[in-house]
């Protein structure tokens, strides 16, 4: 709890959290103004899908930076060394710090999207269960990229390093991962499609998008071909959950094992 409180107070003073929240608010309001003329029934779904597609341009990079800089700040201010020499192990420090960062980042976004329901109610019929699925997808997205940010902050020794690694990771998930899969797509057969499926759903952007669209009932899996049936060998919810577990676990383990105490600049 101390960590969360400390993180909250630090975030209040810094501009990063407010800038990120500001961007999310601006984008969501613009999307709403753009969708307000749509039909009462379909409008909600068009808005949610378009909003998600817009937010995936921002949330990964924002979460990567905020997670990384929050850890690096502990190094810069030498509070990390003090904490680690006194009562904390690296593992427990990173665990508590991750929890604190995740809570402080997710809570304001969650609150904003509750407030967002008010204008939404004026324009559309809102199936609340579907709205919560949208929030679940968004929070899943934030969890993964914030934890990757923690990993970057933990292994980096300078702000420049953080900036470089964050941009590389963002670029990888945003472009390179799918680009590599597109390049081997013509070689996918019924025999190796499951392997391809694992690689496809390793990208959190694809796994979370598929989870959202299928759980909203937009993307149907009826009358699939044999190839597609083999590709979807787990449900989209399972792919989403496993993706979350994999990236949260891997980035946390990486942050603990490759942790560097010192930072300069």
């Amino acid at each position: 709890m101390n960590y969360i409180w400390k993180e909250w107070k630090e975030s209040l003073r810094s501009k990063g959290l407010w800038l990120s929240l500001g961007i999310i608010i601006i984008v969501s309001l613009l999307m709403l103004s753009r969708s307000s003329g749509l039909g009462v029934d379909q409008g909600f779904y068009i808005l949610v899908v378009n909003l998600f597609e817009s937010l995936i341009y921002f949330i990964p990079i924002l979460c990567l930076f905020l997670g990384a800089f929050s850890i690096f700040q502990e190094k810069e201010q030498k509070t990390l060394v003090m904490l680690l020499t006194r009562q904390e192990s690296t593992l427990s420090f990173l665990f508590k710090k991750s929890l604190a960062i995740q809570s402080v980042l997710i809570a304001p976004v969650f609150i904003w999207f509750f407030i967002y329901l008010i204008p939404l109610k004026f324009f559309f019929a809102i199936p609340f269960s579907h709205y919560f699925l949208f929030l679940a997808a968004l929070i899943g997205f934030m969890l993964v990229f914030t934890q990757l940010g923690v990993f970057i902050g933990s292994i980096s020794r300078s702000r420049m390093q953080i900036t470089g690694i964050a941009i590389v990771i963002w670029f990888y998930f945003f472009f390179l991962h799918d680009f590599a899969l597109l390049s081997v797509l013509s070689n996918v057969t019924h025999d190796n499609v499951q392997l391809f499926s694992i690689a496809y759903f390793l990208n959190p952007i694809q796994a979370i998008r598929m989870f959202l669209e299928s759980s909203l009932g937009l993307y149907s899996f009826g009358n699939m071909s044999r190839l597609l049936e083999s590709f979807m060998w787990l449900s989209p919810t399972m792919f989403f959950t496993l993706n979350l577990i994999f990236w949260l676990g891997l980035s946390f383990a990486g942050a603990v094992m490759l942790h560097r105490k010192e930072g300069f600049e």
Partner: protein, 433 residues
């Protein structure tokens, strides 16, 4: 004593047990009614099945239900000039081993009116069998919405039936919303069809008209197969979104006119295969993953005055290059922000042709999983890289692209740029600390 007991058993067999509201009650009311009579039903559940073999009006109250015994059609209309109005029909037979396909209401005759009805728990909703000039208005059909496709019937099944009017109906969760089989000259207005396999399904049905219908959340909005001379105007095809879904499919369909419709957020807006001479004019095709997908077996489609914007791929031609016209009478299509066009003489027509190249056509032809990547930002990089490497092929050339402003400029990208700028400024500032 034995004789008395036998008599009692005999009496019991003859007299009872009597079912409340038994079939013969409603059927006997119908049988006893004179031709042209109006029968007003009470607020209760009547047991079917019933056969109407004389012209009459059957009018329900707010909670009138006619429940079938699940052995056949709940209501069979075998006389002309029958009106069914304002009640619920349920529990038709789901039997697929029968020689007949059952429905909640099966109409075998002409000139009937079916209005303000709710139909559920039946195989087909309403089945017109060689029945002409009927009106189906404000009917709601609710299907099971899941399970195998063959186990579900169609909302409205129109078989060898001509010149019917289907208006203001709502259909959800059936196999096909409306299925037309050898049915010509029908008019379909203001219907809403969702969560079906195909909202509309045409087989061998010509000269039908569709206007102001809304098709959402179907596997395919409208599948038009082996049907000619149809008019589709001002319909909305939205969120037909599954793998390989489409707003409208034209398969072996010729000389159809598709005008002023909206195709939004479909996997493919318009999908054309083995079809010729279709006119696609004035439609709004946007935010689909593929705006128009044309297979080489198709020829001579005319695309004019459409707004085709914000699709991942505006149009692709697959399996070779067919011969299509991307403009008519000097008017092409408005490609939105997909092409930067100059219009120095300000006549609303671009000074240079809009030519679109793509390298994805081969992947789409060969590998169905390509559709899974159409929303990925990597697609843009993939296309640009292949363009640089000269691996792209011309998909279409619109010689007279329209440049007139759509009047609805998106505020999203300026906002995104502003947000990105703020973020960059913040990062630079924090790096200088």
């Amino acid at each position: 004593m034995k004789k008395i007991l036998s008599l009692l058993v005999l009496f019991a067999l003859i007299l009872g047990p009597c079912r409340p509201g038994a079939t013969e009650n409603l059927q006997s009311i119908i049988d006893e009614a004179e031709e042209g009579a109006t029968i007003e039903l009470e607020n209760k559940t009547y047991e079917g099945n019933i056969v109407i073999d004389k012209p009459l009006k059957l009018i329900g109250a707010d909670k009138t239900v006619i429940r079938g015994d699940a052995t056949g059609n709940v209501i069979s209309v075998r006389a002309e000039g029958v009106t069914l109005s304002n009640f619920e029909v349920e529990n038709g037979s789901m039997n697929r081993n029968s020689s007949e396909e059952y429905a909640a209401i099966k109409v075998y005759t002409n000139g009937n009116t079916l209005e303000h009805l709710l139909i559920q728990n039946s195989f087909h909703g309403i089945y017109l069998s060689q029945a002409h000039e009927n009106t189906i208005d404000h009917v709601q059909v609710i299907g099971s919405g899941d399970g195998e496709i063959a186990g579900q019937g169609n909302g409205l099944h129109i078989y060898y039936s001509n010149k019917n009017t289907l208006s203001n109906n709502e259909i959800e969760g059936t196999r096909d919303g409306m299925f037309f089989d050898y049915a010509d000259g029908n008019v379909v207005l203001n219907n809403q069809i969702s969560k079906t396999r195909y909202g509309l399904h045409f087989m061998y049905s010509n000269e039908n008209e569709f206007k102001n219908n809304i098709f959402t959340f179907n596997t395919g909005g409208a599948a038009i197969m082996h049907s000619n001379g149809l008019k589709l105007e001002e319909n909305e095809f939205i969120f037909n979104y599954g793998h390989r879904s489409f707003g409208i499919l034209l398969l072996s369909a010729n000389d159809n006119s598709i005008e002023n419709n909206t195709f939004r957020m479909n996997q493919r807006g318009i999908y054309i295969d083995q079809s010729t001479r279709n006119l696609i004019r004035g439609n709004h095709i946007f935010q689909n993953q593929i705006g128009v997908e044309l297979w080489a077996s198709s020829n001579d489609q005319v695309f004019t005055e459409n707004l085709i914007d914000e699709n991942t791929l505006p149009a692709v031609t697959l399996g070779g290059t067919g011969n299509h016209f991307w403009s008519k009478d000097g008017k092409g299509n408005n490609w939105g922000n997909d092409f930067a066009l100059l219009d120095l003489d300000q006549n609303g027509i671009g000074d240079t042709p809009a030519t679109y190249q793509s390298s994805l056509y081969e992947l789409i032809e060969d590998q169905e999983l390509t559709y899974l990547f159409l929303k990925s930002p990597a697609i843009t990089v993939y296309e640009k890289m292949n363009e640089l490497l000269n691996n792209s092929k011309i998909m279409f050339e619109d010689e007279h692209p329209l440049t007139s402003n759509t009047g609805k400029q998106s505020l999203l990208w300026p906002a995104l740029l502003l947000a990105g700028g703020l973020l960059f400024f913040y990062k630079i500032k924090s790096l200088r600390k």
